[in-house]
Symmetry: C2
Subunit: 148 residues, 2 copies
DNA sequence: ATGACACCTAGAGTAAACTCTAAGTATTAT
DNA sequence: ATAATACTTAGAGTTTACTCTAGGTGTCAT
């Protein structure tokens, strides 16, 4: 099976511009073109697009994805480089999730506080309620830094 | 207490360029300047910088942070807008964490697979091992899309 | 009072990942 | 045959958040 760029747009949600851009950046080195230059994407190309999406979601830049694809095409001699890439990425994702957890707590505190402030119609009153003072102390090292 | 821009650079880790840029963008509307135009940051300004960092970490753009600061300065009439902002942000962070969890599973699978591939010196052999086929099936809806 | 250093402004430059434009060719439907 | 639609290329423009440069002023220790 092969697909026109329009069909791939529908399947992937990427724009035709973006697909051509990816190709120019070396992310799709196997896309075939017919005699008049029209692209015909294979199922293999679609699988690459799925993998590219995953790598992008994990935070890789386009040039890093290109590097990965080059390694893949060089075969088993680059297995350890590819292992390192996934290992590093996993560590970065772990840090990112830890970071988001911290931020989430702060934002949730603000949400609760403002919900109460809206209820009583006054931010200072809500801020000074015992339960919010208590919560803030529990959540933050330097609670005064979080009054804004 | 008040602080020169150099002291704030040391305290926050932000560059002097960035601090002036934030001010230009309306994120620090209260920074005072002496007769010769030199900035003197107050403790209040430092607290704002802490809050700005949190909002940035949560993914807000600079113009959204400026909006929040404007609402804050308008007082209790904007409490509900600020509540909405934190509510939306909390929802976005929840989605982002869910997204990262999915990506993490895929990357972890790749890491395991490549660790085995490096051990045996061949990607195809590792890919075809029963336990990896099994794991892939468990992790992905469309497992073939993940061979790249 | 002289050199080092911190600070100022306005505005230009950068990086990443698109996103769009212009000008043209090819295919398809009626 | 003609119009609409889809496709092609090269290259310019956009957005965000900085980041840096140029050219200058102000402060301070010796």
């Amino acid at each position: 099976m092969s697909y026109s760029i329009g069909e791939v747009v529908k399947k992937t949600g990427l724009s035709a511009h973006t697909l051509r851009y990816y190709e120019k950046e070396g992310l799709l080195p196997f896309v075939k073109k017919n005699a008049s230059g029209v692209r015909a994407y294979s199922d293999e190309d679609l699988r690459w697009l799925t993998m590219i999406e995953c790598l992008k979601d994990s935070g890789l830049q386009i040039k890093e994805i290109r590097q990965y694809i080059e390694w893949f095409n060089e075969g088993d001699s680059t297995l350890s480089q590819r292992l390192s890439l996934f290992e590093n990425r996993r560590k970065i994702l772990e840090k990112e999730m830890a970071r988001l957890t911290v931020v989430m707590n702060k934002i949730r505190f603000k949400e609760l506080l403002y919900r109460e402030a809206v209820r009583v119609g006054n931010l200072d009153v809500a801020t000074n309620e015992r339960r919010f003072k208590h919560l803030k102390k529990k959540l933050f090292e330097s609670p005064d830094d979080f009054d804004k």
